[in-house]
Structure formats: C-alpha cells, structure tokens
C-alpha cells in the first residue's frame, strides 16, 4: 500500500483488511491518485484512475440530465470480480474511491467498511486548507511525482 497523504494510510489499511478488497484506489475527481493498494504497476494505476474518474463524471452527467441528485455509489457486478466506485467527501475536498473485489467478499461488506473508512478519513484529515489545485502545465510533473511516491521509484 502506498499513499501520497500519510494520514490516509491507517483508514485505508483498515478498510483493506476488513473488506478483503483486492485493489483499492483513492483519487481526486480529476483522477490524481491519493493512495493505492494492490496495484503492481504505475501504468495500471494511471489507467484505473483515469477510467474511474471518467465513469463517475459520466454518471454524474446522466444524473444531471434526468434531474436526479448525483450518484454516490456505482457498482459493476461481474462473475468473478466486481467494481465499486463511490464519492468520498473529506475536508481536503471530494475524492473518488475505486475498489475491485472478488467472490471472497461481498458488496455489502465492501460498502459497509468503505463507509467506515470515510468516517475515519474525515476524523484523520489534517485541519489545514485544501491543497492547491494542479495547473494543467504542472500536471505531468505532479503525476510523475505522485507515481514515484506510490511505487517508490
């Protein structure tokens, strides 16, 4: 497990232990990775973050079009693996959680412990102003810095 923000590690580790999730990714709404568990390659993290953020953005647009409040949770159910995507509101801003889980656990368990993780993150978050926004010009540099932190290289 790797995290850009150290205070995320405890709640995320608890979530992973309790939910038996195979892969977990916490990212900002624009796809910047905050923390990851289970990914072996930075390329996979980049792809998953981009796709997860894109799926959530598309879903929110659908909700907007039909005049519904935003979707908080999306689940893609597969025969062997399922994906759980959820909005996470923490003092630092709005994040997205992406969880991949298999048949060894259950959607209800993942959701229950994910909700608990959100509560723990809200408690653990430092009471400082949210981090500055990443400008497009800095995006690549920021991305590579994040990936170095997440993968230790």
């Amino acid at each position: 497990m790797r995290a850009i923000e150290s205070w995320v590690t405890g709640p995320l580790q608890t979530f992973v232990n309790e939910s038996a999730a195979r892969l977990t990714l916490l990212m900002t709404g624009s796809g910047q990775v905050i923390a990851q568990h289970g990914f072996a390659r930075s390329l996979d993290v980049m792809s998953a973050a981009a796709l997860g953020a894109g799926i959530m953005a598309s879903s929110q647009e659908i909700a907007h079009l039909i005049g519904w409040p935003e979707f908080q949770v999306l689940v893609h159910q597969g025969s062997r693996h399922s994906h759980f995507l959820a909005l996470v509101d923490v003092p630092a801003g709005r994040w997205i959680g992406l969880v991949v889980f298999g048949r060894e656990t259950k959607l209800g368990v993942v959701r229950y412990f994910f909700d608990r993780m959100i509560d723990e993150l809200a408690t653990a978050a430092p009471r400082t102003p949210p981090p500055r926004k990443v400008l497009a010009a800095d995006f690549e540099t920021e991305l590579h810095r994040s990936l170095r932190t997440l993968f230790g290289r």
Binding site: T105, K106, L107, G108, V109, R111, Y112
Partner: protein, 116 residues
C-alpha cells in the same frame, strides 16, 4: 415483490421478544426487505451476516456437510437466527432476551423455505 417477501417474515415479528427481521441477498450482503428496530444498522447487519454465513459455508463444506441451512447465535442480550432459502436469499431474525427460542427457530426455518 419486496412486499411479498416481507410478508414471509411478518408472522415471526409477532413472536414475543423478536426485534426485527430482514431478507438479505446472500451473494451480495445487501438488504432485500427489512423490518428492524431503529437502533439497528440494517445495511451493516445484512453485510456482516451474509459474510458470516459465507464463511460458515466454507466450514460446513470442509466437513462434507454442504451449505448451512440454519445458524443460531446466542449473545449476552439476545439471539440472531439466520436461515438460507431458495434464490440465494437469507432470512435474518434478531431476537431479544426472553424470546421463545424453539418457536422462533422453527418459524425462521419454515419462513426461509418460502423465500424466492
């Protein structure tokens, strides 16, 4: 559909001491129908009971006994009954102290057989 399913556990709610009942999707651990006391977190209860039955299934399978049909847990302040039914549904009943356990278990098993 949900109302039809909920009707299955209505008689159980009439038993003295029973604090609630719900039907849970065993595969997902999510609530299908529920009638619970307000102080019980139904989503959490459904998730953890389905997970428990899944793990107990591994145990009974290992012992060559097949899938569990009924689980009865006794705690300090009451009991929890879990019974598996058709269509991968699970009937969960929360009973307080003083509940006639034999009657509750019998009705839970009968009601679970009507699910699906």
């Amino acid at each position: 559909m949900t109302d039809d399913l909920a009707a299955v556990f209505e008689p159980i709610l009439q038993i003295r001491g029973v604090r609630g009942a719900m039907i849970v999707s065993a595969a997902d651990g999510v609530v299908v129908a529920a009638s619970l006391m307000e102080d019980v977190d139904g989503d959490a209860f459904a998730a953890l009971t389905a997970s428990l039955v899944g793990r107990l299934g591994s145990l009974t399978d290992l012992a060559g006994q097949g899938a569990p049909r009924c689980v009865q847990l006794h705690a300090e302040h009451g009991a929890v009954f879990l019974a598996t039914g058709p269509a991968d549904l699970l009937l969960v009943v929360l009973a307080g102290a003083g509940t006639p356990v034999g009657l509750a278990r019998l009705q839970v098993i009968q009601a679970a057989g009507q699910l699906g």
